[in-house]
Every structure is written in C-alpha cells, then in structure tokens.
C-alpha cells in the first residue's frame, strides 16, 4: 500500500517509457494522418502498447495478462497517451471495456474476453448510459429477451445458460434497441451492452433491478453499426443498433447495475488522467510560445495579461492533477467514498481542461485558430471529454447530493 501522491520509482519509469514511445509513434503528423483514416488508429501501434509495452492492462489481474498494479499506474499511462493524443480505442477497450469486464463475477467470461483487450489484440466498446455522471439505468434503451428451448431429458445446461422453472432452458438472449454515442463502437470486436431483461425498460423506478450486461460479437446477426462524424476526429463514435441480435449474458440483475456503476467511477478517474495529460501539454506549449513570440519588441509572456493567463493555467493543471490522482489512489486503496472521488475528478478535470484549452488558443492568437496548429485538436478533445462521462455540472449535482443533502457528508 503506497501513500497517496508518493509515486513509486516504477511509476516514474513507466511515465518516461510511455512518453518516449508516444513521441516516437504518435508525432502530430501521425495523429493527423490517422484521424483522416477510416479506422482512426494504427492497430500495430495499439498492439505494441498492449504486448510490447504491456501498458493497456495495468489495473487488470495478472491471470488475464494484466499487471495487477492498480489504477494509479494505469492513470500514469493514460495521462501520457492523452498528452500526445495517441489514437486508439483507449476509451472503449481500456477505460470502459476492460474495467467493466474486470468487475464481472463470471470468471469464465473474464478469462475469455479480457486477455485480448489487455494485449491490444482485440477491442471493445461499452453501450451503456454513463453520460449523466454515473450509470443511469432509467436511460437504458436496449431490451433483452430470453431465448428458450425445450430441455432435453438429462441434457446439460449450456455455459451461462439457466434452467427456468417451466422446464425450458434459456440458451441466450436477443437484444433490440439502439444506442448512440458508443465510443470506439464502429470498429470494436466486442460490444458490451446494458439491456433491460424481459422486455421492460430499466425498471419502473429506474434502479436497474432488471438491467443485465451482455456481450455481442462483431459478426452477430442483427447488429448494425453506423459511424457518426465527430467534432474530435481522434475519438470515434458510432450508433449501434440491435435487431434481435444474439447476445451472451455476462452479468444478470442486480449485478450488472453494480458493475456499471463501478465502471462509471473508475472511468471517471481514468478519463481525468487523460484530461490532465492533455492540459499539461497545452500549458507547456503556451508557455513556450509566450517566451518566443515577440510583439511590441518584447516576448508576449512579459505582458502581464498573458503571463497571468499562463499562471492561471498552471493553477488549473496542478489542481486537476491532485484530484485525478487522488481518485486513482482512493479507488485503489479504498481511502475515500468512490462516488465522491470520481465526481471530484471529473468535475475538476473537465473544467480545467476546457478552460486551459480555451486559454491556450487565446495565448496563441490567430495561429492558435488555424487547422495546422495543434491547439484545436486539444480544444476538441477537451470539450468532448467533458461531455462523455457526465458534465462538470452533472458531477457537481452528484456531489451536492452526497455532501450537502446526505448530512453524513458534513
């Protein structure tokens, strides 16, 4: 157990390694080439991250090819990937997919599906409503129907299947419905889907007591995926529709809702790491520019209006770093209410990254608004990140509930 904010020598080395690797494989020209390509990333680079560097599953258990190091190490990696805008299914496979799978009680499913993600050989996407700052069962738009067949006398129950009281056997489910904004959804090999079982919605009271988590493979019949054009070209989204698509139940109710709620918390913290990596890059870039760009015969950084913008960016980045890593440590070691730690991380880091991005454009003047300059790539990432897992306001609302409304927080 390491004390909060005391990074180990291995973690320092890990940061150095990933930063060097990102600089090598993901210079800006490469980011621009990939963001214009159909797939949006280079699978060879992604599998090098998984297999050669072994940094895609640092929080996953060793028996699934992970390192069992925990979220702090994974956050260090994600921070550096965010800094360089390395293209790949980071959200779908690592931040959401591997996190959700790692939380399953179904050991067989974990053993079958996790290693590919950790190695960067396969990719995943999660189709579940997490955009309100937590898992929101009432917003589930997919329904699952059990497929039954007569039980053969003395027959065995298929893996994952259950025997229902009526003497028929559930051999699997089919899904109906459509989910928008599925991150990395178009190219994913594996779709993890939250669906209401039994044809109802997320439950009358929206508490997730009928929600299951399902796996749908990329070649499933009835699966239709449509890439949606995005503002942030480095991060892909799809609308995924299920027309009686066969699905495998990974977690039944009520486990699924718990797994998804935990996934939302972990993802909030890991996304925060990406946010600070990118924000730190913008701060560095702006300071460098302010030192060298001359106007009125002096570097613009000598003007207080510019200098103070940079100072404010520094403050935002430093504070964001504190809450992001507090979140990682707290989730690893159980030292804080995970709901509070997660919402703190997303609320502070989303605000910091969007503000820093806007300030960076301002410090650069006209050049910062050009297509050639990197600022807009980060600006788009900033506003996209801020919306993916709940806005800063959504997380503030959660904090208000936890800290102010529940008197226990006081």
């Amino acid at each position: 157990m390491s004390s909060e904010f005391a990074w180990s020598a291995e973690q320092v080395e890990l940061r150095r390694t990933v930063r060097a690797f990102a600089a090598e494989v993901s210079p800006q020209e490469e980011v621009r080439r990939l963001m214009a390509s159909p797939l949006g990333h280079d699978p060879a680079v992604w599998s090098r991250l998984g297999e050669e560097l072994g940094v895609l599953g640092l929080a996953a258990d060793e028996e699934y090819g992970g390192a069992g190091d925990g979220l702090v190490s994974q956050a260090v990696v994600i921070e550096e990937l965010g800094r360089a805008l390395v293209c790949g299914p980071l959200l779908g496979s690592v931040i959401l997919g591997a996190t959700a799978l790692g939380g399953l009680s179904d050991k067989a499913a974990r053993a079958e599906l996790l290693p590919g993600l950790v190695a960067g050989r396969t990719s995943a996407a999660l189709a579940a409503p997490l955009h309100r700052g937590g898992f929101d069962p009432a917003a589930v738009t997919v329904t699952a129907t059990a497929r039954h067949s007569a039980t053969s006398p003395g027959g065995t129950t298929s893996p994952g299947g259950t025997t229902s009281p009526g003497g028929t056997e559930t051999t699997g489910h089919t899904l109906r419905g459509s989910v928008a904004h599925v991150l990395d959804g178009a190219a994913a090999d594996l779709l993890l889907v939250a669906a209401a079982i039994g044809g109802t919605d997320g439950g009358e009271d929206g508490d997730g007591d009928t929600v299951g988590l399902f796996a749908v493979s990329a070649d499933a019949t009835g699966l239709v995926r449509e890439s949606t054009p995005t503002m942030d070209l480095t991060r892909r989204q799809a609308t995924v529709s299920f027309n009686d698509a066969p699905a495998r139940l990974l977690a039944a109710a009520p486990e699924a809702a718990t797994v998804l709620a935990t996934t939302a918390e972990t993802a909030a913290v890991l996304l925060a790491a990406e946010q600070i990596g990118a924000a730190q890059y913008l701060l560095d870039l702006s300071v460098e520019y302010a030192r060298t760009r001359l106007q009125f015969g002096r570097p613009i950084g000598s003007f207080q209006a510019v200098k103070h913008l940079c100072a404010d960016m520094l403050v935002l980045v430093e504070q964001a770093r504190s809450v992001a890593y507090h979140g990682a440590w707290a989730l690893d070691e159980g030292t804080d209410d995970p709901r509070i730690a997660a919402s703190l991380a997303q609320s502070v880091c989303s605000t910091a990254f969007t503000q820093v991005a806007a300030m960076a454009v301002q410090v650069h003047g006209g050049i910062g608004f050009t297509w050639e300059h990197p600022a807009h790539l980060y600006l788009k990432r900033a506003y996209t990140d801020a919306a993916l897992l709940g806005s800063a306001e959504a997380h503030q609302e959660r904090l208000a509930q936890l800290v102010l409304d529940d008197a226990g927080g006081l």
Binding site: F5, A6, R16, L314, V323, H326, L404
Partner: protein, 401 residues
Amino acid sequence: MSAETADALAAAGASQDDDRARVERAAREVLAGIDPATATTAEFLGACYDAGLAWVHFPVGFGGLGVPAGLQAVADAILAAGGRPDPFLNNPIGVGMAGPTLHGHADEQLRARLLRPLYTGENMWAQLFSEPGAGSDLAGLSTRAVRDGDGWVVDGQKVWTSLAHLASWALLLARTDPDLPKHRGLTYFIVDMHAPGVEVRPLRQATGQAEFNEVYLTGVRVPDAHRLGDVGQGWNVAMTTLMNERSAIGDSALDRGSGTIADALGLWRDRPDLHTPALRLRLAGLWTQAEAHRLTGERARVARTAGPPGPEASIGKLVGAELNQKIYDFCMDMLGPEGTLYDSYDDPADSLQRRFLRARANTIEGGTSQILRNVLGERVLRLPGDVRVDTGKPWRDVPRG
C-alpha cells in the same frame, strides 16, 4: 507535477518509511508524557519542540529530527488529533516565517536561544518589511541601517506590521547601501521590539480591529550579531521568509470539510430556512474547489523535501486567498439581510460578517494575487520578466511615491 519532480519523489519514498516510524513514535511519546488538556499551551508546545516535532526537518536539538519536511504532516496529524493547540495560530509570524528564516540563516547561538520560546509562543514575532513607499515592491524600501561600531543604527517607518503590539522580536529588512541597485543594498536583521527607539502605533482596519500597526524606528541600535546573512544579502534571506510566508498562509486544511469551507458548510447545515437550489449548487462548487485546494496542499506536503518551499508554494496562497473570498461571499449571499448587520466596530464578535470583511485582505497580505501570478509566471513557468524602469539604477535614483 512534471516527470522530473515525480522522479525525485520516488527516490525519496523508500528511506522515508523508517523516518516516518520515528516521527510517529515521537509524537505518540509526547502525547503519553503530557496532557494538552491540563498543560499550558507553552508547556505542551515546549514538549513538542523538545521531541523534535516543531519542524521535523530542523536538526535534533533545534526543534527537529533531521528528517524530510514532508513528514511534518505525519506529526501534525497525530498531535492535532491528540489535542495540540495550533502552534501557527499561536504565533503565526514566528512559527510560519521567523522559525524557518532563523533555521536557514542564523548562527547556532541565536537559534539555540530563540527557536524554543518562538515555538512555544512565549516570544511573539512580527515582520518589519512593508513600508508606506514599499509594498509589492518590497526591495524598494527606505528604512536605513547604518554601521556604528560593533552594531547598526536603524531609522525608518514600517507599516501593516501585524502583531507588532504583542511582539518581542521582529524580522527587519533595511537598506544598508542606497548607491547600489535596490536588491543589492539590503541587509536582514532581527530586532528586539523592546529596544529604545521602537514605537508601535496601532492601525485600525476595515473590521474595526487593529491587528496591524505602524512601527517607527528611531535610532534603534541592533548588534551585528543580530544580522542574518551577509551585508548586502538581505534580499536572499527575505526570500526564505516570503516563500515560507506563502506556504504557511497557503497551507490547506488537512481534513475534508475543515478550514474556511467549514463556515459555509456550517451555515448550510444550521440554516435550512435559507436554502435555495442556486445556493446549493454554488456551495457544491465551492466544496469542490476547497477539495482541489486541500488535495493540492496534500500533494505539495508529500513532495516537500528538506529544502525550503519554492515558488510553487504560491499556488496554495493564491488559490486559498481567492477561495476564502468566494466562501465568505457565499455566506453573505446566503445570510441575505441578516448579513448586513454588524455587532460592533469597537470589539467585533468573530461573526461571518467579520470573517467576510477580513477575507478581503487575503489577496493583499503576504503578496497580492497579482504579484503571486507574476511569481508563478516568472519563477515557476520561467516566462520573461516585465519591462523594468529601475533595473541597474542606484536605489537613490529610482522614483518613489
């Protein structure tokens, strides 16, 4: 944090485990030996000093244990939980600034004589830096110290001197050579506040109270043994004081929900009749900012090694000051018409209204927020300095007013 600072941190990590155990043990022993409920503040803090828990990074025998400063938080947490009175609040300038300045720049004899009564609060300390003509531009100050035999004679006027009316000692920055450029003609002294020629006149502030003073220095004799650092090196010594001032003022609360945010949370809890949805979200936002501030302070504490705090301590001072103002603005808005009342300007109660007024000084004292942004820009981010009209000029030729 940059990769480089993370590096230094990790290296420090391993050997800290033994030191940590030592600090924990010493703190428990203090609590076992003396009961803060029955002992006087001075007695209890004296025991902490003797155990090396005043400033853990100071040498043994001088209030420390010679271990990394980051472990101070370990001692503080145990002692505070055991009921220790807050030594900083007891003697803020002494403990927050004079102690570290003496540690860095005074000889062994002075340290042996002054540090203990400073820590226990038996000797209160003040800071004779600011003058009517030199606030943000501290290095432009006019108070003169002139060599006279084996000592110095000081003449000048200081202002905004907090606690001067209670202090037995003060930190003094004075000009010893007006012909040099401003930073190079300064020398640093400590002054006996009861010496002849020291006159303290209270200054009333917006709250009605008089926490600070004008101090007139007329022919005050200071022995050369009370000089800290070389003649002409006063600015360097003053930087130690200022960096410690910012880190002491900017130091955030140790526990979630404590510090100034506790006032807003308390008001929220006690006055459900004043709740509105807009105030609720605003308070959640302030709570979030207070947490980001607290955790950043926590991270700085873990990172702090034996060295003095650097310019990055200005982050905590800047954020803490602006956050305090927002917190008390919130309290005023929540109180509504009740907030417009003020019990007495002669002897005001420690009300939210008084705290609201007092918070206005937070962004001025200890370096204004503008100056702190300059410090972050120039000394942390290494941005180029502003254009200066006084660089290289003898101090006597620089316009003042």
